[in-house]
């Protein structure tokens, strides 16, 4: 075949939600689903790695909503995209954190009403976000993320790519996951 499997396509670009320096030696890409309980578990793990690795790590999040089993995942992703478009990347990351932090609050924690509240708290205009959800303004953007994940060999959520190569190990194992990232950065990870 012309392509290896499990290789990020396309590379990280201007369209992506990026946290950290583009010059960082390691780029960690997560394909995630805002309603996925495993992504919920991964969220603090990623944040801890960001704290530990600082400027050595750039984190990128792409949407991979598995809508047949997570009915609110698509709107959660669209709401986050709307926040990004209407209020900028800082607001996007606030929204991103808010969605994961509230995911397990209640069964309706990610319905449109709540999503709009998180958007407002993140600094976006709630009316714009509500209208964007109703019109599906960011459906295509989310779909494009999803399809890029399919072509990259995403095999469930979360799927991580370390410098463009799918991580097939156990991300719940801090030593294994953090170690692989630190290795790519050429540093030794110390306990936070």
């Amino acid at each position: 075949m012309s392509h290896e499997q499990g290789v990020l396509r396309p590379d990280v670009g201007a369209e992506d939600h990026q946290h950290g320096s583009p010059d960082a030696p390691v780029t960690l890409v997560e394909y995630g689903d805002f309603q996925c309980p495993f992504c919920y578990r991964a969220h603090p793990i990623v944040m801890a790695l960001q704290r530990q690795l600082g400027s050595q790590l750039r984190f990128v999040f792409r949407n991979f909503p598995i809508t047949e089993i997570h009915p609110n995942a698509l709107h959660a992703a669209e709401a986050a995209e709307s926040v990004n478009a209407n209020a900028g990347p800082d607001a996007y990351w606030k929204m991103h954190h808010a969605i994961f932090e509230h995911q397990q609050d209640s069964p309706d924690a990610l319905d449109d009403t709540h999503l709009v509240q998180y958007a407002a708290a993140s600094g976006a205009d709630p009316v714009r976000v509500k209208l964007d959800l109703e019109s599906g303004a960011f459906k295509e953007k989310v779909k494009a993320d999803f399809l890029s994940g399919v072509r990259s060999g995403v095999n469930g959520t979360p799927t991580f790519f370390i410098n463009g190569v799918r991580f097939d190990g156990n991300w719940t194992n801090k030593g294994e996951f953090g170690g692989a990232i630190a290795h790519a950065a050429g540093v030794v990870l110390t306990e936070a």
Binding site: G6, C36, F38, F64, V150, S152, G153, N155, D168
Partner: protein
Amino acid sequence: MTILEAGTRAPEFRLLATPDQRLSLRELRGRPVILAFYPADWSPVCGDQMALYNEILTEFQRFDAQMVGISVDGQWCHAAFAESRRLHFPLLADFEPKGAVAKAYGVYRDEDGTSERALFVIDGDGIIVWSYCSPVSVNPGADGILDALESMRAERAEVSL
């Protein structure tokens, strides 16, 4: 066991797809078939292999390809699993004689009595055009399948020029 490779004729099968309906490979002639062997229903992750394929059926349909899942689980188990995951493609029960189709394709695991995670893309004439066996703990995703469908389409376009 050695997995059947590209260029090989895909072994025929006729297995239960629902508790009272059988599906044979021959019935699918004329369009590409994606045959996805997996070890078992009910693997304890939410984005599991079949749920993933279910989510991207529309991509496979762009190539007019039929996705078919297959494991050694029985038809009733498949029915419950498909309902729970809201799967919109058939799951075949390679149940009696157990694993016979997996063995024919070279992807049976004697050590644990299930099949490998193995993927086959079969063209409309019943010839395997791509096969891949993933480590059993690694869900292979769908990138290889889509690459295979794309190159098959590209080759066909060349031939018809």
